[in-house]
Symmetry: C3
Subunit: 137 residues, 3 copies
Amino acid sequence: MIEQTNLEFRTRGRGTTDITADVQRVITESGIKKGICTVFLQHTSASLILCENADRDVRIDLEMLLSRLAPDNDPAYIHDTEGPDDMAAHARSILTSNSLSIPVTDGQLALGTWQGVYLYEHRHAGHVRSVVLTVYW
Amino acid sequence: MIEQTNLEFRTRGRGTTDITADVQRVITESGIKKGICTVFLQHTSASLILCENADRDVRIDLEMLLSRLAPDNDPAYIHDTEGPDDMAAHARSILTSNSLSIPVTDGQLALGTWQGVYLYEHRHAGHVRSVVLTVYW
Amino acid sequence: MIEQTNLEFRTRGRGTTDITADVQRVITESGIKKGICTVFLQHTSASLILCENADRDVRIDLEMLLSRLAPDNDPAYIHDTEGPDDMAAHARSILTSNSLSIPVTDGQLALGTWQGVYLYEHRHAGHVRSVVLTVYW
């Protein structure tokens, strides 16, 4: 059995959105008990992460670290078609992830206690981001 | 066909543990010949990597590089609830991976000759880490 | 239904090769309409990325950033058996990805408009790189 669902999220610029409940809703509606859910983001300037979900400071510190590893407006960038955050966003996307495969057990995402699924917008402007969920069992 | 198994590993603090044989054992017991094995780690301060398995110096050098990219005790961190390695561990987890999908061919993990599956503990203290293996074919 | 195919790519040294059409060809030949394609690279000194496919400058800038994060010939490296790019290549592989799970919809890879699948060679010398494609539906 395989089911596919498209979800859209409107981001408000750089930062994380917890989409765990949105993913779980699709799983619950599918009736799947045991299997895999693949979460796939159709963009190259945003990403998906599994992150600690208890303390939002974790995501603030993560943002600080990513800003060091792939800074906006780096003088060495050639690609700046869409502005000083364009290349940084692509690099952050590649350093994190665009596809997560998460087990489903007893009808629930088999996440750890402190794990949440986050959509990470890397552009400063808000965007509509498309996610393809594929559930199979 | 789909099978799920939970494995637990007791780590001895920061460093890597080769879990390839543990994953292969579950595959062998399942009787699967051709399919996929998804290895999922239910934690946000440890991770899973596919790494060269011949020379342990690779993992020593990797540790050195990750310590630069996400240092312990960085003065810019806000999140240090569990100590100076807390935020570094979350960042290392996100920069590497928590979910690996590995093909199975002829009943064996279809890894390259020099590829091993490693559990990477990012906290200095040892922890019990839970992995969910899902095999489907 | 599950099908597995091995593809080989001859790289010409460090840099990216767009393999999207090669992956799509296998999907088309399998007859799959809706499912998942797992692309797995059997090496630890090359990787797979989902990257913006319109402007090649993105990959030039990405190379520049990765060269900062995991430089060749770093004096701190212990592992240099195969030369000054050996350890850098392993680290770049781990910071990016070796396994991508991509949804298939209506017989097509469900990539975003600007997403391409790239094989990233991290060694300076060309190599033959093996990819295992597993398609299931």
